[in-house]
């Protein structure tokens, strides 16, 4: 059967990885290519790169980085950030991305999901959702979690799946950065209404958070940034631990 995935997420701004970067034993602590190499060696099942630059120059640097990573790291790569059109899909796929993640761009123009799925296949389109509780409901936020769209998260997940998204990354703004565990309540709410793979993001603080996450069998992958970047959690050890918990993990060597 398909194994559960552990995915480090690299936020890149002007060619550097930002957010919780405190790497030891790696030459350049914020060089995305160095970090990608490290994660590949330590058993990451997939890498996610988010382009958080807005400028044209930043974008060019980002695609150069992507190309450099894809020329020496041979695991699935997902790319997001600033994806607003089919041209954006094309640009990153040509640089070696396997999947493209849409967020604000799809909120502005939901038809983008369907158009991309028809051209590149469902498996290529990842719907990334930043969700926060507002008045006891789960609400979708745009622009990196800064803007309340007023859209109900359950509706949006259902709609994204119907439009052709191949998987969903659910990032809980409420638990993001808190490191107190994943937002199981939110994940279950979405997990019960969609069939496509669900990737959990936001809140991982320790290895046990991942075993708790995967107790809910609708979850396909756990995504995190800070705890991996700071080496608080080592992916090799994490996978060994989860394997020991009886979960199906991809083990190397």
């Amino acid at each position: 059967m398909v194994s559960k995935r552990i995915i480090p997420c690299l936020d890149v701004r002007n060619g550097r990885v930002v957010k919780g970067v405190n790497f030891e034993g790696v030459k350049d602590m914020a060089d995305p290519v160095e970090m990608a190499r490290w994660y590949n060696e330590t058993g990451a099942d997939e890498l996610v790169f988010y382009d958080i630059t807005a400028s044209f120059e930043g974008r060019t640097i980002f695609t150069d980085i992507l190309r450099a990573v894809a020329s020496e790291i041979f695991i699935p790569l997902t790319v997001g950030g600033g994806i607003n059109s089919l041209e954006d899909f094309d640009r990153v796929l040509k640089c070696g991305a396997d999947k493209v993640s849409v967020n604000s761009g799809a909120i502005r123009d939901p038809a983008l999901i369907g158009a991309a799925a028809r051209r590149y296949g469902d498996q290529c389109v990842v719907l990334s959702m930043d969700v926060k509780r507002v008045d006891g409901r789960f609400r979708v936020f745009a622009k990196g979690g800064r803007e309340d769209t007023g859209i109900d998260a359950l509706e949006w997940a259902r709609r994204g799946e119907a439009l052709g998204a191949g998987e969903i990354v659910l990032n809980s703004i409420d638990t993001d950065g808190v490191r107190g565990g994943f937002d199981m309540e939110m994940l279950r709410a979405i997990g019960e209404i969609v069939k496509i793979p669900l990737i959990a993001s936001g809140g991982a603080g320790k290895m046990e958070d991942f075993s708790e996450l995967f107790e809910y069998d609708r979850i396909d992958a756990g995504l995190a940034a800070g705890i991996f970047h700071t080496k608080k959690v080592d992916i090799r050890e994490l996978k060994r631990y989860l394997d020991g918990c009886g979960l199906n993990m991809r083990m190397e060597n």
Partner: protein, 201 residues
């Protein structure tokens, strides 16, 4: 030189990068002469079977592939692997290259309801028949799949399978012709080792 056939189907960046990473001389090409000159050929592909086969025929490359497959090792990857079979039942019925006996069928019809299609992600490859392509590969290592159709009725050519309710055909061989349903160029170190072994055949 390893020729990667470029017939306008899919993105060849990772595939060519993986061969270069292994220090292999490779060329992305749609020219007959390059396929004739090559020591080995890789037939990639993503998308729909019918469209891909049509492109191979229209470019005249289908005949070259059939002819060269009698003389040198060829590796079909993902849809490129499916094209090696006699026919496919993907949206109608389409004829394939007929280099390997078998038929390409929808996974959904043969696996239990509720299991996701596409079969996507890391899955263990179990060796069912030993072969030089497994020279650097250990039984049960994981490889990366993304597909909704699979090859069946091909037991005699099957080298490796992955369990997804049924035994999904992962790696096949008939004579010089190899096919992998998974993406070796996205299967980490294990995938690179399969490519290295293929290059040494």
């Amino acid at each position: 030189m390893i020729a990667i056939i470029d017939y306008g189907v899919g993105n060849l960046y990772s595939l060519s990068s993986s061969l270069k990473f292994l220090g292999l001389d490779c060329r992305i090409s749609n020219k007959k002469e390059d396929l004739q000159r090559a020591d080995k050929i890789v037939l990639p592909g993503v998308g729909a079977f019918g469209d891909a086969m049509k492109k191979l025929v229209e470019t005249g490359l289908a005949d070259t592939v059939r002819e060269q497959a009698q003389r040198k090792p060829l590796l079909g990857i993902c849809l490129g692997m499916q094209l090696l079979f006699e026919r496919s039942l993907e949206y109608g019925e389409h004829e394939g290259l007929s280099l390997i006996k078998g038929v390409v069928s929808p996974l959904a019809a043969d696996i239990r309801a509720g299991l996701k299609v596409p079969h996507m992600g890391w899955n263990r490859l179990e060796i069912v028949k030993d072969d030089p392509i497994f020279k650097y590969f250990r039984n049960g290592e994981s490889v990366y799949y993304v597909h909704s159709f699979y090859a069946k009725d091909c037991a005699e050519s099957t080298l490796g399978v992955s369990e997804y309710d049924i035994k999904v055909t992962g790696l096949v061989r008939s004579g010089y012709v190899y096919g992998s349903q998974f993406h070796p160029e996205k299967s980490g170190a294990a995938g690179l080792r399969l490519l290295r072994a293929f290059a040494e055949i």
